[in-house]
Symmetry: C2
Subunit: 137 residues, 2 copies
DNA sequence: CGGCATCCACACGGATACTG
DNA sequence: CAGTATCCGTGTGGATGCCG
């Protein structure tokens, strides 16, 4: 077998690309921002430190599982601090680190884009769907 | 039944929040950027119009299904144009629209953050994992 | 109060085969 | 070349119940 199959070549390319993506800094942040709750949590914490229950209330749709999971991930990456106050009942406060706070301008950029183009996007979407419908009809 | 159950209240809150998220412009963009391939495709198209096969090659890890799906979504939102040239074989070129091109500064912001903080993130991650390990051991 | 463990449904996304 | 159609494994994430 002197030559590799197309499938083999593709598989190898994918592995190499995965490795590239795994080490790409931008990718790592994108991966975090990608999940549903990260940006919501960071935004909620922008106003200052907050307790677990406060966050749960402000991000009304989140389940405890996802909120905890998101906070843990952010903590692990050094974007959020977790401060436990021993008491009965326990009190846990979360806050952005300087690194985490630096994420706010990025979110601001996203927000700016959205507000500038949302109307065009909505129009485009409508036009696209209309074209699809007429093709189907 | 004068009062609602906790589960009911939570469910209603979730519905309301979902509705809020559905109409929030930032959220809509975040949703797009969230999926694995959107940003890669936009980045690839930053250099100018490109054919389907070129994109598939540059974004080596992507499957046709995902590439097509991503391009369709971007096209629907008016961020990418799709130009078919009737020939044998067919030729299809994709390009960023002005709206899509406006996404590049946002990606640049992400990139800037990543390059500035990746080291701190990696360190934090290592420290966090070490702490976890010592707790388990 | 602030979790963790478990179960489970569903959507995401990869592999493969086929088409205009 | 540029897709579409299908099958199917896996991860994501919600619901629930228990615990320090």
């Amino acid at each position: 077998m002197p030559t590799k199959s197309a499938a083999q070549r593709r598989a190898e390319a994918r592995v190499a690309y995965d490795a590239y993506l795994a080490t790409c800094p931008s990718r790592q942040l994108l991966e975090r921002m990608g999940d549903k709750w990260t940006t919501l949590v960071v935004n909620a914490l922008a106003d200052g430190p907050q307790r677990y229950a406060e966050l749960a209330r402000r991000i009304a749709g989140v389940s405890q599982k996802m909120l905890t999971q998101t906070l843990r991930a952010l903590e692990r990456d050094g974007m959020v601090t977790r401060m436990v106050t021993a008491a009965v009942p326990v009190r846990v406060d979360y806050a952005l680190t300087p690194v985490g706070r630096d994420l706010l301008p990025v979110l601001a950029a996203v927000k700016a884009w959205s507000e500038r183009h949302i109307e065009a996007v909505l129009d485009a979407r409508e036009a696209y769907d209309a074209a699809q419908a007429s093709r189907a009809g």
